[in-house]
Amino acid sequence: MALHIKILGGGCANCERLEKHAKAAVAQLGVEATFEKSGDYNEYAKYGLLATPGLVVNDRLLSGGKVPAVGQVVTLLTNVLAGE
């Protein structure tokens, strides 16, 4: 199953770190994933994100307001893959 990963947050240092962690996690799992970035307030509201950066996978907000460690992102992604 393909993963679509969206990073919410416009250009802040933590958004870039989150993207790096997400890419590292995808590489560790060895799965296919497409990436997207968005800095749009309406998108934040749509997913219910209160503080950037936000991690959205397959249209669901998995983490907001913090940068999870690579290992935590791996767990989050594994759960998504197992659930579908």
């Binding site: 240092a13 209160l50 460690a69």
Partner: protein, 455 residues
Amino acid sequence: MVHPMNLFDTALRLAQSGLGNLAAYLAAHVLLCLLPAFFIAGALSALVPKEAVTRYLGRTAPKFISYPAAALGGFSLAVCSCTVLPLFAGIYRKGAGLGPAITFLFVGPAINILALSYTGVAIGMDIALARLVLSLLFGIGIGLLMALIFRRDDVAHDAGGADAFAGRATIERRTWLFLLILLAVLIAGTLQVELLTGGFASVTLSLPAAERFQAVLNQLVPFDATRGEEGVTVQGALLIGLLALIGLAAWRGLNNITEGFNRWTWVTLGLVALTLSLAAVRMTAGADGLTIALTGKALAVALGLVALGLLARQFEAYAIQEWLWETWRFVRQIFPLLIVGVFAVGVIRPLIRPEWIESLAGSNTLPGNAVGVLFGVFMYFPTLVEVPVARLFLDLGMHRGPLLAYLMADPELSLQSILITASIIGRRKAWTYVGWVALFSTLAGLLFGAWVDLY
């Protein structure tokens, strides 16, 4: 005609004034207050889950909970506007509504830990306290007023979509303890009470060079105490050197901290501890050498640092890395601009005649306070730079009332932030908000000024 030599002299004098201001601020004010304050801001950002505050800001939260929560949230979550604006938009669109959102927007920039401690040390605890209390009260007041004025729109707003405020989280006990000790180090370092500042043991190092060094410093950074200027002491010069070393070490030790600790991380932390401890002892250069007095302050700071080190081991490594990273991120974001700002203030200082300031805002009048607010609206200063600017006004004879009015209005209102706010809540609401802030800031200045005149 101006002789070119005179022009050169003037430029040199201005540059010297700028450097002097910079040196004095780094040594006297920054170290013992801003250094711990940055670590506290980092801890609030990295260790306190945002859901612990936002859970009280949902649509169903009663008013007597949502407004105070918004005010406290402003204090704990809002060191930089990058957190404030998404959260503001979220509270407005999906949460408790316009009123608490406005309260949050108002309180955040004025009374975060960095702004408060810097104001307290550079200008005075009375102004810092007034800024804290009046921002909380008026933030809630303006929020309630806005909610009342626009109550029709507020009822109508969007109820669909994900519930952003469903997240539940609490602050762990060890995090509370960690924050409290950090706060204790900050307070012990800055509080001027006899128990802390009095020396109880001292040694004199036979260093004749110390006195000569002090003489050189006085020549490099000449100062006029009657104009509120400060020179640089031997201790100050030492601390500035250490601060530069911390910056260098942190560049290698903290830039990649999230990948793990390296040798430079330990060097950085060691230097920070050394700097804080050295800043807390009292050094005087005299004829017989350098006298170092051990103060209660130094003891308190050292104890606090040891306690922090022990407590840090209770956290997961990633949490501590996040804490150091957030701290370093704030430093990188705020400190360079602050240095430029302090230098610029020093350059400008000799160019402003005290008579101008005195005639505009030398006493606590309505026009005086209005001038303070207007200046705050039209000038945009980066985070924290409003503080040295305010200090400049104070030295040049501004009354403390208009000074507070300026300090309340400046971080709240800049043309830039008004435009962004307008894009979220609409132009009519945004300008109404601006009007209330201007009015309330003027009122805050008048009230505080009257209180100052009374005592």
